[in-house]
Point group: C2
Chain length 356, copies 2
């Protein structure tokens, strides 16, 4: 097989621990399936601020741009929370998304059988929940002009939210295509009764919809969507929405599955390039103690195999290995009912490697 280049960014908190387990899995798939990977490690986030004075060093961007895909652990922590804007991990995150053109964030929210009871939702409501939030990631109020000015009412802060037709169309078409590969239902979420950007969004959705006649489309207002996710989570298939709404709704959707420690995500641009990362954060409170659950990161690798490399066989094998290890009753402490029987980060990684 040809060599695939992966930029590996461990990041902060539990990032290095979970990424280390994913790298073991990577190696194992080379042995079993004959894949060939070349990994390049790079500094990013808090650790990059500490060591290089910026959350997103030039070298890191170069490593990523030369790679076929990026695997990211997690970034951030209280240590950097009160830094000025340029010296915050989040600024690096927004910067890398923009620099790599990652305009689409896929956030699958599924319920793991063994974690059904971990959700705060009733099992009968959750039954069958398997949805994907497709979030626009490089536009909207996140990247619009921001400034302060004097007003008669004291200092005033301004954020600008802008979307153009091309930006909306590429993410919406992608969401329609994803829906075609799933249960063929798309909910487009906006606030068209108030926002001009939402009215443009809805116009574009309605204009391209006829190109996907097999997909059932509904428009849902964002406030209503926040409610419907709670009331009928299983009825959603693909949800597409703009950056800020996607931030809120994808986290709500992830939390309601009860499986947040297990969820993977992908950020994609044009072509097959992608950045893959667990949905959970850097969890500084448990960092360095071998308590972290590496499964979300390992499943992010499976998502990378399937989405960027087209390695369906390897992706299936990783996902099955995870399922088998869980079905055999092994749990890290975050998902263990009996915490005294919990296994460590590396034990979980080793078991999954052995199951491939």
């Amino acid at each position: 097989a040809d060599v695939k280049k992966i930029a590996v960014i461990a990041g902060d908190g539990i990032g290095p621990e979970v990424v280390a387990e994913a790298e073991k899995v990577l190696k194992r798939t080379e042995e079993v399936f004959g894949y060939r990977f070349e990994t390049g490690h790079a500094l990013f986030g808090g650790i990059a601020i500490d060591e290089k004075g910026t959350p997103l060093p030039e070298e890191t961007l170069t490593v990523c741009k030369n790679a076929d895909a990026v695997l990211l652990g997690a970034v951030g922590g209280p240590k950097w929370d009160n830094n000025s804007k340029e010296l915050r991990p989040e600024t690096g995150l927004l910067g890398i998304r923009k620099a790599l053109g990652l305009f689409s964030n896929l956030r699958p929210a599924v319920v793991f059988d063994c974690l059904k009871d971990a959700s705060t939702l009733k099992p009968e409501v959750l039954e069958g929940t398997d949805l994907m939030v497709v979030r626009e990631l490089t536009g909207g109020i996140y990247f619009g002009e921001k400034f302060r000015r004097e007003s008669a009412q004291g200092e005033e802060a301004v954020d600008t939210c802008a979307y153009n037709v091309a930006e909306v169309e590429r993410i919406v078409r992608q969401a329609f295509e994803i829906a075609q590969g799933r249960r063929k239902k798309l909910a487009s979420v906006d606030k068209a009764n108030v926002l001009e950007t939402s009215r443009l969004w809805r116009e574009v959705v309605n204009r391209v919809a006829p190109d996907y006649p097999d997909v059932e489309l509904e428009h849902v207002l964002v406030d209503n969507c926040a409610m419907q996710l709670l009331r009928r989570p299983a009825s959603f298939d693909v949800i597409v929405t703009e950056n800020m709404f996607g931030d809120i709704l994808s986290d709500e959707a992830a939390m309601l599955t009860g499986s947040i420690g297990m969820l993977a995500s992908a950020s994609l641009g044009e072509g097959s390039f992608g950045l893959y990362e667990p949905v959970h954060g850097s969890a500084p409170d448990i960092a360095g103690q071998g308590l972290a659950n590496p499964i979300a990161t390992i499943l992010s690798l499976a998502l990378m195999f399937r989405t960027t490399f087209g390695y369906a066989e390897g992706a299936d094998a990783i996902e099955e290995a995870v399922a088998n290890v869980l079905n055999a009753g092994h749990r890290t402490s975050d998902i263990a009912v009996d915490k005294s029987k919990a296994i460590s980060t590396t034990e979980m990684g080793d078991l999954i490697v052995a199951a491939i």
Copy 2:
């Protein structure tokens, strides 16, 4: 007693039905407590578009401005959904908020004992949930400049989100005061790691916080709040946030109680003036059939008594009457387990009147 003037706006869909029952309750409190009310009816929303060609006629504003408080049923419906912006019910809603200076929207989310099982959340998670979302209502992206322009990428839409210090300070101080009268916990929700308006918001909160030393303050990012509402709803007391976040989070909070058909809300300005309305919408699908639940509107009246008029005795009496009728097992169809035993809108109103 001096005469209190109430502007009554029935609105669309089930609005007229639920408001009629609240008016019966109003009359009953005159008999029992000697209050004196003068009501003035006004057209608003869809019906105003049909009859007057605008969702918010001048006369309606005048009736409201001459009143001490406004009781609103519900507005909107599919009939007007495809109208141009100026001829949509929502435009009237935004207009009346601005014209009456209603900068604060109080959305209590409580669990009614008899409806505990109606929530999709597990009862043990919901246990003790009693929170209040304080939403800024006349600023932010709802009221900022909106426009279209040509860009190299096709047409572009722009929304502007602005907040000044005075706007933030008045709502934040109000939220602190509300928290002082409750469990003394305040969660201020923003997206300070991305938005300039959120950074200003957080600065103001931190500056005024020392004036309320008895209130425990936490800052919560909006995406995290969407998750925490699901994970630990009972741990929240008062949540204060800007307009758009408040729209989303107050609906999420209402839905998780399972009691959305029963929740009241208040929109307040300077002084004691307020607009009171049920949280539920106009439900055009069941309008005119006597199926609507009038309780949220009747409880909105109780909120008006307590908040605008200082009529605690009357407010208590209404709330107790509602509790007694529910405890006796009476249900409208939306909350009935056995739908065949459901009572009508007017039957529910009559029972509550009789219980006062």
